[in-house]
């Protein structure tokens, strides 16, 4: 039994079953990053997937935009305890990007422009669970939110949805990324409250 704060009532918008434990709903989109936002022109942008066998697949912005684009409607959950429900995005499914990639690796490291990294098991990226997204709420993704494109893995805490995504490195073992080396959970499932390591 927890400690009761008499006189504390709260706002009760956390009773929503769409909210994972310990989350509260917000209709704004707070920005949380570890450093300055990198400035990447789409002409210079590239997305890569590298395999353990040393193969490198790359897409220019134009090649990426020529891939099938899908609309995504999803809830997002930040480890700092806010959630935004029913957000809309547009982007390319990781299933599409991994279509031509042969691998036996089970783990990945997402790499961002600016040096940010985050580790995600491959099975969390496939089967309609993850995208490289470039549009938010009907408008091109702002730089502060990861534009021109960010990874979107909405079933995990949002730090896994790497902003300014540059590529994905396949790995044979699970190696912690940036926040995972700084006290945050290796996996980050909000429904199991995997916040801190």
């Amino acid at each position: 039994m927890g400690i009761i704060s008499s006189g504390f009532h709260g706002k009760r918008h956390a009773g929503n079953p769409a909210l994972p434990p310990g989350q509260h709903e917000t209709d704004t989109f707070p920005v949380l990053t570890a450093g300055p936002a990198p400035n990447i022109a789409t002409a210079d942008w590239e997305f890569f997937i590298t395999t353990g066998a040393g193969q490198r697949h790359t897409w220019s912005w134009d090649a990426f935009m020529a891939l099938p684009q899908v609309e995504i409607r999803t809830d997002i959950h930040c480890v700092t305890s806010w959630s935004q429900l029913g957000t809309t995005w547009r982007g390319v499914s990781l299933d599409t990007l991994f279509d031509e990639v042969e691998t036996t690796s089970e783990f990945t490291m997402a790499h961002s422009y600016g040096g940010y990294t985050t580790n995600v098991p491959l099975q969390d990226l496939l089967d309609g669970q993850a995208w490289v997204a470039w549009e938010f709420g009907g408008r091109p993704l702002e730089r502060a939110h990861g534009g021109p494109a960010r990874l979107l893995v909405p079933h995990l805490y949002l730090w896994k949805s790497a902003k300014w995504i540059n590529g994905i490195e396949l790995m044979n073992e699970d190696i912690p990324g940036f926040w995972e080396s700084n006290g945050y959970h290796l996996h980050g499932d909000p429904w199991r409250e995997q916040r801190y390591s």
Binding site: I4, S5, G10, K11, A37, G183, S197
Partner: protein, 245 residues
């Protein structure tokens, strides 16, 4: 690092500015925190409803008593209770300390430039306190951007330190109302004013910026443009939903 909820007892509550309060918490078994880390606070209503928020620690060290400074947010769920209702002797639950990135360690040899917007001063104050207490002679400089003198946190302590400490310089930028006799009129912090009041690129400072999103984005953008390496700049946004627009 502890991920379990622990009981904390409120041992002090002192108004810090017109809208904020510094709260001292005694946490049994707390074995210290790094400057810049935060804790999560959980409040539970009498019917079991809970709300959790993160607060930066204003203190650092090995003490069992830690301090946070809470600024009351309009329409906040947790901060009005912490600022107005919480009393000495009350208990609540905390988790942490958390964070290994936006931290300063007493062994860090680099000069440090701290840039605070409003209540973003809190984790930077813990760095200043840790630096003053440490056998570390590196230069610290704080630029504190404030709406008005009455909005300032830790005023007496910063005043004393800026007079007496040989290793800390404090600069203020007032955006809406300046103290009487202040040489500059209140104005939004400009790129020019910022660059004129911080350690130069050549000093290779480690930079910590904390404030609302727009403040942090703007200031960090100016610094990168002025040649401060992005890798030397650490940022933290204050106020969970200090939204962008």
């Amino acid at each position: 690092m502890s991920t379990l909820w622990r009981v904390a007892e409120v041992v002090s509550g002192v108004p810090e500015s017109e809208t904020s309060r510094t709260i001292g918490l005694r946490v049994d078994g707390m074995n210290g925190n790094l400057a810049g880390q935060h804790i999560d606070i959980r409040l539970t209503a009498d019917d079991g409803y809970t709300a959790v928020r993160s607060y930066s620690l204003a203190t650092a060290g090995m003490d069992e008593i830690i301090e946070i400074t809470v600024d009351e947010l309009a329409n906040g769920e947790v901060s009005p209770y912490l600022v107005r209702n919480l009393m000495v002797g009350d208990q609540l639950e905390i988790r942490g300390p958390v964070g290994g990135w936006f931290v300063w360690r007493p062994t860090d040899p680099n000069p440090v430039q701290l840039i605070a917007g409003g209540s973003g001063i809190v984790p930077l104050m813990s760095m200043i306190r840790a630096h003053e207490a440490a056998d570390n002679s590196s230069q610290f400089r704080l630029l504190y951007s404030l709406k008005s003198p009455g909005a300032g946190f830790y005023r007496e302590e910063l005043l004393t330190l800026s007079r007496e400490s040989a290793k800390l310089v404090v600069d203020y930028a007032y955006t809406r109302q300046a103290p009487q006799g202040w040489p500059d009129p209140p104005q939004r912090l400009s790129e020019e004013a910022l660059l004129a009041t911080i350690l130069p690129v050549e000093a290779a400072p480690a930079v910590f910026i904390c404030g609302q999103t727009i403040f942090v984005e703007t200031v960090s953008g100016w610094l990168v443009q002025a040649g401060y390496p992005a890798a030397s700049i650490k940022t933290e946004r204050f106020g969970g939903t200090g939204g962008l627009r």
